[in-house]
C-alpha cells in the first residue's frame, strides 16, 4: 500500500487518473447535481466565487527571493523571531484533527513535552488522529463511512471519489469567511498564493484550506553528488542511451543505480506531457502519447538488466531513501520537497545531493521537468463544527504562521534546549525534537514553501540552484485547476488498471505493446469522457 510514498510524491494513481495530480479540482463546479452521488451533473458556467485575496506576508525578508515560480530560500533562520499573533487562538474549546503523517507516530500527549507545550500555548487540548500518508485515503473513506470525522480533517483531493458531493455533505462552506477580502481576518491564510486556493473550490464554494506546494512538489531526479564527485563520474547525461549506460556503470554486486524505475524522469526525456497536452483548446491525454512505449521500453530494460534494486517495487520510499543514504543505490527520483527530509536519515557529513535534469532522449538539450501540483493536500472543517467555524479558522490561521515567526519556530522546531539547539540562529533538532514534534501539523496548513535546512545553508542553496535551473522551463499540466466529474468518479479505478499494466510491463510480465491496449481501454473506460469534460471546463475558463 505504498501509493503515496513520501510527503509529496504524487501518487501514481492520481497521475494516471487523468493527469490531474492532487489538486486538479477547482473553480468549475457542478450546478445541477443529480442524485447527489454518482450522477454526472452538467458543468454550467464559471464559478462566481472570488478566491481569497493574496496578501503576502513580508515581515521576514527572504535571503534569496525566488523568481519565475522558484520558491524563496532562506540560508539562515532569522535571529530572534517575533510573535505574530496575540492571545490564544480559537474559542478555548478542544479541537480534534484527522490528519496524515510521514514519520513515525510521536509519543502520546501525556509523554510528549512538545504536545504539552502546544496545549499550553493554545489554551485547549488538540487531539490528532494520525494515519500514514500511504494509507490515508483508505482510512479517510472508512472514517467518512463511519461518520467519525472530527472538527478538522485533511484529504488528498485526487484520491477521494466524488469529493464535491462528499464535501457538500460533511464539510462547512468557508466561502463567506475566506472569499475575497474576507480572508484578511486570517492574515496567514491570506499569505497562501491564489493558485493553491483553486484546488479548494468545489461546486463554486470554498470548502477547504490548502497546504501549498507547486514547484516544490515537482518530481526530480536526485544523485549522490558526493559519491559521483569522489568517483569522478558525471551524473548529468545527454541522452536516453547515455542514461542507460550510466545506470549500467553504477550497478554491480550488491549495489544498483536506481531504487525504482524513475518513470517520470524517463517520460520527461521522451517529452511526454505532464498529464495532458493542449493544442487550441483540444486536450490529449499523456496516456495516449506516441512515445509512451519508448519510455516504458527503457524502463523495462533498466529492470531486466539489473540496474534497479530488486526489491524496489514493494519497498516504501523511506526505504529507498535509506538505500540512497547507505550507498545501496546511487540515484532516486522524488520531489524537491523531499530534499530536507534526508536530514532525518543517518547521513554522514559529506552527504550531498544534486538534481540531474532530464536530457532529451535523442540528445541535443534538456527536457522540461513536470511542474508539481499546487497543493500537497487540503483541509476542511466538519459540518458538525459549523458553529465554531471562525474559532477553528483562527486555529488554522495560527498554525499557518509564516516562516521566521516565533510561532513557526515553535511549531516546526519546538522549544530551544529541549527540541532544538541553536547553531548560530539555526534551530537544529535534537533526537527528542525529532520524535516529539511529529504531530503532522504541517499537513493541516502551511505558509508558502521556503527552501531551508537548519544548520546547513549549502543544502538550501543547492536546492535553490537546482530549482532555478529546472523550474522556469517546467511543463505545467493544462487541466490543473479544472474539474471533471468522471475523473472524480472513475479516474481512480481506470487509472489503477493502467497502472497495473505499467507495472506488468516494467517487470517484464507483459510486452511493452500492452500499453497501447491498456491506454485504449483507459480511454474507452472513461478517459475520453474525462477529456471532454476537461475541454468543456477549459473552454469556459478561457472564454
Amino acid at each position: 500500500m505504498n501509493r503515496l510514498l513520501t510527503e509529496t510524491t504524487i501518487s501514481r494513481r492520481s497521475l494516471l487518473m487523468g493527469g490531474m495530480g492532487l489538486g486538479a479540482f477547482a473553480v468549475l463546479g457542478l450546478a445541477g447535481c443529480s442524485n447527489e452521488g454518482r450522477g454526472g451533473g452538467a458543468l454550467t458556467g464559471n464559478a462566481t466565487v472570488a478566491l481569497p485575496t493574496y496578501v503576502p506576508y513580508d515581515g521576514v525578508p527572504m535571503d534569496i527571493k525566488g523568481t519565475d515560480g522558484v520558491p524563496d530560500t532562506m540560508l539562515k533562520y532569522p535571529a530572534n523571531p517575533k510573535k505574530v499573533t496575540s492571545g490564544q487562538p480559537g474559542d478555548g474549546e478542544d479541537v480534534g484533527i484527522f490528519g496524515m503523517t510521514n514519520t513515525p507516530v510521536p509519543p502520546g500527549a501525556d509523554k510528549n513535552a512538545y504536545w504539552q507545550e502546544l496545549h499550553e500555548r493554545l489554551g485547549f487540548a488538540l487531539t490528532i488522529a494520525l494515519t500514514p500518508a500511504g494509507d490515508f485515503s483508505d482510512r479517510f473513506q472508512t472514517t467518512v463511512a463511519g461518520d467519525r470525522l472530527p472538527d478538522i480533517f485533511e484529504m488528498f483531493p485526487g484520491d477521494v471519489p466524488g469529493l464535491p458531493s462528499l464535501l457538500e455533505e460533511r464539510a462547512t462552506d468557508l466561502t463567506e469567511y475566506l472569499s475575497g477580502d474576507a480572508v484578511k481576518k486570517y492574515p496567514f491564510l491570506a499569505n497562501i498564493p491564489t493558485e493553491s486556493w483553486q484546488s479548494c473550490v468545489f461546486n463554486g464554494k470554498i470548502f477547504a484550506v490548502p497546504v501549498p506546494r507547486g514547484p516544490a512538489q515537482s518530481g526530480v531526479f536526485y544523485a549522490r553528488q558526493d559519491w559521483f564527485e569522489a568517483e569522478g563520474i558525471d551524473p548529468n547525461v545527454t541522452s536516453a542511451e547515455e542514461f542507460y549506460d550510466l545506470c549500467k556503470e553504477l550497478s554491480g554486486g550488491n549495489t544498483w543505480a536506481l531504487g525504482r524505475v524513475p518513470l517520470g524522469h524517463i517520460r520527461q526525456m521522451f517529452e511526454i506531457p505532464n498529464g495532458w497536452s493542449e493544442d487550441g483548446g483540444k486536450l490529449t491525454s499523456a496516456n495516449l502519447h506516441e512515445r509512451q512505449q519508448e519510455a516504458l521500453e527503457l524502463g523495462r530494460r533498466l529492470v531486466a538488466d539489473g540496474f534497479v534494486h530488486p526489491d524496489g517495487v514493494p519497498a516504501t520510499q523511506p526505504q529507498r531513501k535509506t538505500w540512497l543514504v547507505n550507498g545501496t543505490i546511487r540515484m532516486l527520483d522524488d520531489t524537491f520537497s523531499a530534499w530536507p527530509d534526508f536530514s532525518n536519515y543517518p547521513i554522514d557529513e559529506n552527504f550531498r545531493l544534486a538534481v540531474a535534469a532530464p536530457p532529451l532522449a535523442e540528445g541535443g538539450g534538456t527536457a522540461g521537468i513536470h511542474l508539481g501540483a499546487p497543493v500537497q493536500n487540503i483541509t476542511s472543517i466538519s459540518k458538525k463544527s459549523a458553529g465554531r467555524v471562525e474559532a477553528l479558522l483562527d486555529v488554522i490561521n495560527y498554525l499557518a504562521a509564516p516562516f521566521g515567526s516565533e510561532e513557526h519556530l515553535f511549531r516546526t522546531y519546538g522549544v530551544e534546549g529541549v527540541h532544538h539547539e541553536l547553531d548560530g540562529t539555526d534551530p537544529v533538532l535534537t533526537d527528542k525534537g525529532r520524535t516529539e514534534i511529529q504531530l503532522g501539523l504541517k499537513y493541516v496548513v502551511e505558509g508558502p514553501w521556503v527552501n531551508f535546512q537548519a544548520g546547513d545553508p549549502d543544502v538550501a542553496q543547492a536546492e535553490h540552484d537546482a530549482q532555478a535551473a529546472v523550474v522556469p522551463t517546467a511543463v505545467a499540466n493544462p487541466v490543473q485547476g479544472l474539474f471533471s466529474e468522471t475523473a472524480s468518479r472513475k479516474g481512480g479505478q481506470i487509472g489503477e488498471k493502467l497502472a497495473s499494466v505499467e507495472s506488468d510491463i516494467l517487470a517484464g510480465r507483459k510486452p511493452v505493446t500492452a500499453w497501447a491496449d491498456g491506454a485504449k481501454a483507459w480511454a474507452k473506460g472513461g478517459g475520453d469522457k474525462i477529456r471532454d469534460e476537461y475541454q468543456t471546463a477549459l473552454a469556459e475558463r478561457q472564454g
Partner: protein, 342 residues
Amino acid sequence: MTAVEEPRTGRAGTLRPKSGGRGSGSRTPSGTGPQPVRRRQSWWQRLVRDRAVLLLALPGMAVIIVFQYLALGGNVIAFQDYQPYLGIGRSLWVGFENFQILFSGDPEFLSALRNTLVITLLQTVFVFPAPIILALLLHSLVSNRVRQIVQSVLYLPHFLSWVIVVAVFQQVLGGAGLLNNFLRSHGWEPIDIIGNSDAFYALITSQVIWKDTGWATILFLAVLAGIDKSLYEASAVDGASRWRQTWHITLPGMRPIIIMLLILKLGDSLSVGFEQLILQQQAVGLGVSDVLDTYVYNQGVLGGFWGVAAAVGLVKGLIGLALVLVANKTAHAFGEEGVYRA
C-alpha cells in the same frame, strides 16, 4: 473452535461407538440400548435448569449478536449505490444492478475469481494436510521434553502478524535479501523468488505452512492424546506394524475432526488470506495475486464502488454458507458427525 471442545471429539477415539443410532433423527435421545423414555422438558424448564450456563454464555452471545449478526445488516449496501457520506439511509436503491458484475464477464472479476479458486485448491491440497502430518510426527516423538520444545518453537510463527512474516520472507528471500546477497557476493546468479509471479503461489503457500502449521497441530494432538492406548497395545500383540497402527487406529480416530475441519475450511474457502496477499500484490502484479477479497477492497474502499464490492462479498459469503451446508449433509450421509446436526 467451540464445537471442537465438546466432549464428542474426546470419544472419537473409540471408533464410532454409536454410529448405528444416528439415522433416526434428533428427536430420539441418543444412546444405544433400551433406555427409560424420559419426558421431554418444556422450554421453560430447560431454561431454568441451564440458567447458570446460559448466563455464562450471555456476554459471548451479545458480542456475536452485535458484531456478527447486526453487522450483517450492512450487506444492504450491495443493493445500493452506496456513498459513504450519504450513509445507508440516503444512498440510492439500485436493486440487483451491482450483481451484474458477476455475470458481465468483467476481466478483473474473473481473474480474481480464478486466482481465488487456484489458491483455495493449493491450500486444500498442501496446507490442510500439513498439520495432520506434523501432528503424527510429533506424536511419535518419544521424549516428552523434546516434544514440548519442538511444539513451542512450531507455535511461535502463528503469533507473528502477516506484516512481519512478509518482511521476514522479504529479508531472507528478497532480491536483495540474505540469500541473494550471499549468492551475488560469491559471483553466483541470484534467484528471483519474491518478485517472480511464477513462483508466487509456491511462495504464499509456503508462508501459510510456515506460519500456521504448528498452531494447527494443537487440535490434532488433542485428539491423538484421546485415542485409547489399549487399542495400540492390542494391535501390537496381533503383530501390527507402526504403519498399520497409524492406518487402522490413529487415522480413523482422527477422522471426525478432520472432516469437521474440512467442512469449516470449505466455508471460508473463498477467503484466501487478504492481508498476506495485499501486502505482496505490488511485487508480482494483480494478474496472479488479485483474489476476491482484495478485489472487494480495491473496488470498494479504494475505488469508491462500495455497492459492487459489497455484492461480490455477499455472494462470496453465501457460497461459503452453501458449501458448509452441503458438506455437512454429505458428511451425515456417510455416517459422520460433521460440524453439527440440525
